[in-house]
C-alpha cells in the first residue's frame, strides 16, 4: 500500500490531498459502480467533445479493474450524479479525470477483492481478477458482478492503493466508443434528442453586438401560430413544428427595429487598436543578465492575429424543461456545474433546483455557444407551460454570437551582439482576456442575460492564472536567453465577446516567437533547426524537434522555386506536451500547405491513435486559422456570419499530415494532446512562406493579399 499522500493547505480541514479530481470528489461511489449484469458504470465529470476522452478513460478503467473495455459504460456527465470536475478544457482531462479514475478503480478493486476473500474464505493474495471474475487458487470464484453492492464503495477514497505499473489497454490503440453510432447515423447528438410534447424554439439575436430593440411588431410571426417570447431585447419564438419556428423567426426579424451604435474597432488596424486601449499590465517573466554586454543592435517586429470563430459544423443546441419549479437542461456545455451556477444567477433559482446533463454536440474547440443556448432554451421553455423545448442556433448566430477567440498584438524585441546572438529578449502582448466562461463571476456570462428586461452587465474577459495563463500562455520562450522580459497587457475594452478558443494565447505567442527566432537564425545564416537545438537544454524538446526534422527529411531538403520548408516548436503551456511541426508549402496563386510533419510527446500515452487523431486535427485546424480565417466586421456589425464569408480549409486544400509520437521518459506524467500543435503549425507555415518567397508575414491570416502587402 502506497500513495502520494501529502497534507493539503494548513486549514482546519486537514484531509490528505488526493490525486487529480479525486481530491474534490472523494467518494468512491461517485466514480464507479458495478452492475450485476456484468457491467461497470463509470461517471466522469469530463465530457466528450469529439476529442475521444470517453474512450481513453474507459481504457484506464479497464486496466485498473481487470475487465474487458466492452464492460465499461461511460455515463454522460450530469449535475444530478457526476463528480464535479469543473470544465473540460486545457488538455487536462486525462490528467485530472484519468488520474482520479485510476486511483478510484485501484481502490475499488482492492475493496472487492477483500469482499471476495471473505466470501471465498481465501486470502486476498490468493485471488486474481480475470475480466471481472475473481478466481482463487484452487478454482473457487466469484465476481465483481456477483458481489455488486454499492455500499462497498460508499466511502471516501484514500488513494492508498497504488495503480498498476503495467497495462494491457493503456498504451494500445482503442476504437472510439462513440463512432459506431455516428457511422450508422443513429441518434447521439443533443440535436437528436426529443421528448414527447416538445416545442421548437428559435431566438432572434440583435443584428449587432451593441444593438438595442427599439420597436417590435410580432403580429406576422404570431399569425403562423407561433408564440413570441420577449424579455427586454431577448426575443424568441416557439412553435409545434421546427420549420414554422424558423419561418416565424424570420417574420419576427422583419418586424423588429433596432438602434445600432457603431462600437466596433477598425478590423484592418486591430493591432493598433489593441495597443491604444486601456490595459491592466503585469510582468509575466523577467530576468536580467549578470554582466550585461552591449548590444550591436536591436531587432523589432510586431505580430498579430485576428478574432477567430469556433465555426463548429453543428450549431449550438440545448433542450430545457420546467416542471414543478424545477429546471432540467440537456446541452453540450464543457462545464455543466459552472453553467448551472450561471443559470441559477440569471433565473433567480437555487442551483439545487436545476439539473444540467451533458449530451454530445458537434466538435467543441473552446468556449462556444453551448452555455448560451442552454439559457436560451431555459428562457423559452419558461413560456412553454411545462412542455420541453429544443433550441438550435442558426449558422449566422453561431459565427457571429458565440464568443470569439480574441485578437492579439505581440511586439517582440531582441538585443543582439555583433554575431547576431541574443543578449536580451522582450515580449509584450496586448489582448482581451481569454475566458468569459460561466460560473466564475458574481454575475452570469451567458449571452441572453445581457439582453433581458433587467439585464446583467457583460463580464470582461479574464485570463486563467499562470503557469498555464490565458493570453500570456506560452509567451515565455523556452530558449535560453541571457536576459528576458515578458509583459502582458490585458485589454480592458471588449467590443466583441471574447473567450477561450483552443490553445488560447499560445497560438499567437508561439507563432510570433517562432517566426522571430527563425529570422534571428536566418540573419546569422544558421539552420533554424540547429539554432533551436542550440538554445534548448530540455532533452524532450530536442527529441521532438529532431524527430520532426528527421521524418520531414529536413537535412536533405532541396530548394525548389516557390516552395519552402519551415519549422515551429513549443511545449504547450510550457508544462504540457512537446510538439514540433515541419511544414512544406508551395506558393502559387495562394499558399498551399502540402505536408505537415508533427512530432509530439504527450508523456505516457493512453490511446496512441487518439493522440495522433487529436494532433492531426489540431494541425489541420491551425492550418485553416493560419491561411484563411478572420472574423470580419464593419464598425457596427460582424459581417462574417456565413460559410462564404468565414471560409475554412476544405478537403482539396488540406495537407498530408504525418504524426510521430515521440517516446518519453518512463516516469513522464500523461498530458493532453489536443492543443499542442496549433502554435507550432502556424509558425512552421509562416516560416515556410518566408523560406519560399522571402516574405515575412506577421499578421495572420497569411493570405495572398497579406503577402502582396508585405514588402
Amino acid at each position: 500500500m502506497t500513495g502520494p499522500l501529502r497534507r493539503a493547505g494548513g486549514g482546519p480541514d486537514e484531509r490528505p490531498q488526493l490525486p487529480g479530481s479525486l481530491n474534490a470528489n472523494r467518494r468512491l461511489g461517485q466514480w464507479l459502480r458495478f452492475l450485476p449484469e456484468g457491467l461497470v458504470e463509470v461517471r466522469s465529470g469530463k465530457v466528450e467533445l469529439g476529442q475521444g476522452i470517453a474512450t481513453a478513460l474507459a481504457q484506464i478503467v479497464a486496466d485498473e479493474l481487470d475487465v474487458a473495455p466492452a464492460r465499461v459504460r461511460m455515463v454522460p456527465a450530469s449535475t444530478a450524479s457526476s463528480p464535479d470536475e469543473a470544465v473540460t478544457s486545457g488538455s487536462l482531462s486525462v490528467q485530472q479525470s484519468g488520474t482520479a479514475l485510476r486511483y478510484a478503480c485501484a481502490e475499488a478493486r482492492a475493496l472487492y477483492l477483500e469482499a471476495a476473500a471473505a466470501r471465498l474464505g481465501k486470502p486476498v493474495e490468493r485471488l486474481q481478477v480475470i475480466d471481472g471474475e475473481i478466481v482463487a487458487v484452487g478454482g473457487a470464484h466469484t465476481s465483481y458482478w456477483a458481489l455488486a453492492d454499492e455500499r462497498l464503495l460508499d466511502r471516501e477514497a484514500t488513494a492508498r492503493v497504488a495503480p498498476k505499473s503495467t497495462h494491457r489497454f493503456v498504451g494500445s490503440n482503442a476504437l472510439r466508443l462513440d463512432l459506431p453510432d455516428k457511422a450508422f447515423g443513429r441518434p447521439r447528438f443533443v440535436h437528436d434528442l426529443e421528448f414527447p410534447g416538445m416545442l421548437h424554439g428559435r431566438v432572434l439575436r440583435p443584428p449587432s453586438p451593441a444593438a438595442a430593440l427599439r420597436a417590435l411588431d410580432d403580429a406576422q410571426a404570431r399569425a403562423l401560430g407561433a408564440v413570441v417570447v420577449r424579455d427586454g431585447s431577448f426575443l424568441g419564438v416557439l412553435a409545434e413544428r421546427e420549420e414554422v419556428a424558423v419561418k416565424a423567426l424570420e417574420r419576427l426579424r422583419a418586424g423588429a427595429s433596432w438602434s445600432e451604435p457603431a462600437t466596433l474597432p477598425d478590423a484592418h488596424a486591430l493591432a493598433d487598436w489593441l495597443q491604444a486601449q486601456p490595459v491592466e499590465s503585469k510582468v509575466v517573466a523577467e530576468h536580467a543578465a549578470a554582466g550585461a554586454a552591449t548590444p550591436a543592435r536591436t531587432l523589432r517586429a510586431r505580430f498579430s492575429r485576428p478574432y477567430l470563430a469556433h465555426a463548429s459544423i453543428g450549431p449550438s443546441c440545448a433542450l430545457a424543461h420546467w416542471r414543478d419549479g424545477r429546471l432540467q437542461v440537456w446541452c453540450h456545455s464543457q462545464g455543466i456545474y459552472n453553467l448551472r451556477a450561471d443559470l441559477a444567477l440569471t433565473l433567480g433559482l437555487a442551483a439545487e433546483r436545476i439539473d444540467v446533463s451533458h449530451v454530445e454536440g458537434a466538435g467543441c474547440y473552446g468556449h462556444n455557444g453551448a452555455d448560451d443556448v442552454a439559457l436560451d432554451a431555459a428562457l423559452l421553455a419558461r413560456a412553454a407551460g411545462e412542455r420541453p423545448v429544443r433550441v438550435v442556433w442558426s449558422r449566422a448566430d453561431e459565427l457571429a454570437w458565440a464568443p470569439l477567440g480574441p485578437a492579439m498584438a505581440i511586439a517582440l524585441e531582441a538585443d543582439v551582439d555583433a554575431g547576431g546572438e541574443v543578449l536580451a529578449w522582450r515580449h509584450e502582448l496586448w489582448s482581451n482576456g481569454h475566458s468569459t466562461r460561466p460560473g466564475r463571476a458574481a454575475t452570469p456570462t451567458l449571452l441572453a442575460a445581457f439582453h433581458l428586461e433587467r439585464p446583467f452587465e457583460p463580464v470582461l474577459a479574464i485570463d486563467p492564472p499562470l503557469p498555464a495563463g490565458g493570453a500570456e500562455r506560452n509567451a515565455r520562450p523556452l530558449y535560453g536567453f541571457p536576459a528576458l522580459r515578458v509583459v502582458h497587457h490585458r485589454v480592458l475594452s471588449m467590443p466583441l465577446r471574447a473567450s477561450a478558443l483552443r490553445s488560447l494565447g499560445a497560438f499567437a505567442n508561439v507563432f510570433a516567437i517562432e517566426s522571430f527566432v527563425d529570422d534571428l537564425a536566418r540573419a546569422r545564416d544558421e539552420d533554424p533547426v540547429a539554432w533551436r537545438l542550440r538554445h534548448l537544454t530540455d532533452a524532450r524538446a530536442h527529441a521532438v524537434i529532431e524527430a520532426a526534422a528527421r521524418r520531414a527529411g529536413w537535412a536533405a531538403r532541396r530548394r525548389r522555386e516557390h516552395c519552402g520548408h519551415g519549422i515551429g516548436f513549443a511545449r504547450y503551456k510550457n508544462l504540457g506536451a512537446y510538439c514540433a511541426v515541419v511544414a512544406e508549402i508551395e506558393a502559387a496563386r495562394e499558399i498551399r500547405v502540402q505536408r505537415l510533419v508533427v512530432a509530439i510527446d504527450v508523456g505516457q500515452v493512453v490511446n496512441p491513435d487518439g493522440v495522433a487523431n487529436q494532433a492531426e486535427g489540431g494541425a489541420i485546424q491551425a492550418a485553416s486559422w493560419t491561411l484563411k480565417e478572420a472574423v470580419r466586421f464593419d464598425r457596427t456589425r460582424i459581417t462574417s456570419a456565413s460559410w462564404e464569408d468565414y471560409p475554412i480549409l476544405g478537403f482539396s486544400e488540406v495537407p498530408a499530415v504525418e504524426v510521430e509520437i515521440v517516446a518519453c521518459p518512463e516516469d513522464a506524467p500523461w498530458v493532453g494532446a489536443g492543443e499542442a500543435a496549433q502554435g507550432p503549425t502556424a509558425a512552421a507555415i509562416a516560416n515556410a512562406v518566408r523560406d519560399a518567397l522571402g516574405v515575412r508575414v506577421r499578421d495572420l491570416p497569411i493570405t495572398p493579399e497579406r503577402i502582396a502587402a508585405t514588402d
Binding site: F184, G185, R186, E242, S312, E360, A362, G650, F651
Partner: protein
Amino acid sequence: MPTIRLDVNGTERAVDAAEDTPLLYVLRNDLGLKAARFGCGSGRCGACFVLIDGRAVASCDTPLWAAAGRRIVTLEGLGSPEAPHPLQRAVIDEQAAQCGYCLSGILVSAAALLAANAAPTEAEVRAALDRNLCRCGSHNRLVRAVVRAAHGGAE
C-alpha cells in the same frame, strides 16, 4: 396540411407538412431519421446531405415538393450495423472521425461518388468531398476511408 408521399430508403412514407417544408426537418422530426444533420440551412456545409435519385443533395435546402416522387436515401438507408455499407465499415476501420457531426453527409457524398466511380483516385475523393465541411481536421482519415471502401475494405 397536405399529405405528401415520399420514397425514403425504399419505403413509401406519408407526411403531413407544408409543401415548402425543408426535407431535412421532415426526415428528422417526422420520420425519426436523425443521420442528416442541420449545419447551415443553406446547403453550404454538407451536414444534411442525402441521396436524391443517386445524387448528394442538401436536404436543408430541398423543399418537400421537390423531393416527392423521387428516390431519397439517407445514411440509415445505406447500411446498418448488421449489414454495413463498405463506407461505414471503412470509417470505423480508419477511425475516421473526431466529433462525427459532419460524418453522415460525408458518407452520403462518398456513396454518390463510388456509385459513379468505383475506383476514384485520392484527388477525385477530395474533389467529391469539397462540398462537405469538417472542422475537427478528420479530412485525411475520411479520404483514406473512402479509398479503402472503394478497394473492398483492404488498404
